[in-house]
């Protein structure tokens, strides 16, 4: 899975380098301006996310995986879905780590609703990234989007149980 992440980076970087090349050929000034903007956006986002990422890193080091497993393997489908959604909402884990983790949780007794809700809120709901979202789109947008995404994740998880 490390390889999948690496390929993404290579493709993404090639596309952006190519785009900058074409842009530079067409208009030097505009290109310089866009790169200035990119630099500003990068520094701002990186500056506001780095502390959050490190706190999550510490949190994951404190909470043992067994605890997550127990919660997601709850005998009540609804409860394990809810726990999955909550855990997913408050943590951020890169997707290429999340899937193998989910697979190992599944093998060791977590149930499907929990896993599905976990995967969906993990990526779609971001309590940890809320400050950054508010910075970009304001409080109302951020709260409504995250709350509705949370509900949607539960619905998707329950729907999957019906399908599978």
């Amino acid at each position: 899975m490390e390889k999948g992440g690496f390929m993404n980076t290579v493709i993404l970087l090639s596309v952006s380098v190519l785009a900058v090349g074409i842009s530079y050929y067409k208009d030097e000034m505009k290109t310089k301006k866009s790169l200035m903007m990119a630099k500003g956006m990068f520094l701002n986002t990186a500056g506001s996310i780095i502390g959050i990422l490190m706190l999550i890193g510490l949190m994951l080091a404190i909470i043992p995986p067994e605890v997550i497993k127990d919660l997601l393997g709850n005998s009540s489908l609804f409860l394990s879905g809810l726990y999955g959604a909550v855990i997913g909402a408050i943590t951020i884990i890169p997707a290429f780590i999340a899937f193998p983790l989910a697979a190992s949780l599944f093998e060791s007794g977590a149930n499907l609703v929990g896993i599905a809700a976990f995967i969906t809120t993990l990526t779609m709901v971001g309590v940890a990234t809320l400050p950054i979202e508010i910075e970009h789109f304001g409080k109302k947008f951020a709260f409504i989007r995250n709350a509705l995404s949370f509900v949607l994740a539960l619905l998707i998880a329950l729907g999957m149980v019906i399908i599978l």
């Binding site: 200035m36 990119a38 956006m41 502390g51």
Partner: protein, 231 residues
């Protein structure tokens, strides 16, 4: 000074927390750091390219094109393009915010912004292979089949609940004005005016916290244009 502390609140808290953990539990400190390194590496790998593409869109793509394809009246086609853009993109959700903000200031609808952010987060085509490998095709397929209409409906709901003005206070009104001021400045980011970069100086002028004749590399034309701008 107070501004700097306020802006870096979370980073300062992080340093303090890590300091305390280091004193009491060195093993936990190192495990926390090694977890964090994975996240930071992902950020360094993905974020610069996403920002470069956002910057290029900001200077090159005409507003009409965004309004036509992603605007309030873009219909189902706009929604599907939004799903597509989100799902072929790489990177964690926070990388989607500046990108989506750029589209929003160019006239994309709130609903389509939500669709882009959400599909960016959960419907990643590059990640689909990984999901199938670890959780099986039925799991991945049924999740995608339920998620896609779910996301489109989510966009519809948020579009109804959140008005453009709620968000634009944060983006278009401020950002467009600030960028307008920034465009007058020479863009050396030299810091001679006392601000970190031209953007911050422009924001300070916008918020009426700074005089408009502080730019050192800028000639009299720059000062004249800054004085002429209506805030």
């Amino acid at each position: 000074m107070i501004e700097t502390v306020k802006k870096n609140k979370i980073n300062i808290i992080t340093i303090i927390v890590y300091g305390v953990v280091f004193l009491y539990n060195k093993d936990l400190f190192y495990r926390g750091l090694s977890n964090s390194w994975g996240f930071i590496r992902e950020m360094i790998e993905i974020l610069p390219a996403v920002m470069i593409i956002s910057g290029l869109i900001a200077v090159w793509v005409p507003k009409e094109m965004i309004v036509n394809n992603f605007g309030q009246d873009s219909g189902l086609k706009g929604k599907l393009i939004s799903v597509f853009i989100g799902s072929v993109s790489a990177g964690p959700i926070y990388a989607a915010f500046p990108f989506a903000q750029t589209l929003l200031t160019k006239g994309a609808s709130i609903g389509n912004i939500v669709i882009i952010i959400s599909s960016w987060a959960v419907m990643k085509i590059p990640m689909l292979i990984v999901e199938v490998k670890f959780l099986g095709l039925p799991f991945a397929a049924s999740r995608y089949i339920l998620t896609m209409p779910g996301i489109i409906f989510l966009g519809y709901l948020v579009n109804k609940l959140v008005h453009r003005e709620d968000v634009l206070k944060k983006t278009e009104l401020n950002l467009n004005e600030i960028i307008r001021i920034e465009e007058i400045l020479p863009g050396y980011n030299c810091g001679a005016c006392g601000y970190k970069n031209c953007r911050e100086y422009a924001a300070a002028i916008y918020n009426k916290n700074a005089e408009n004749d502080l730019c050192q590399p800028g000639d009299s034309q720059v000062v004249k244009e800054l004085k002429g701008i209506q805030l």
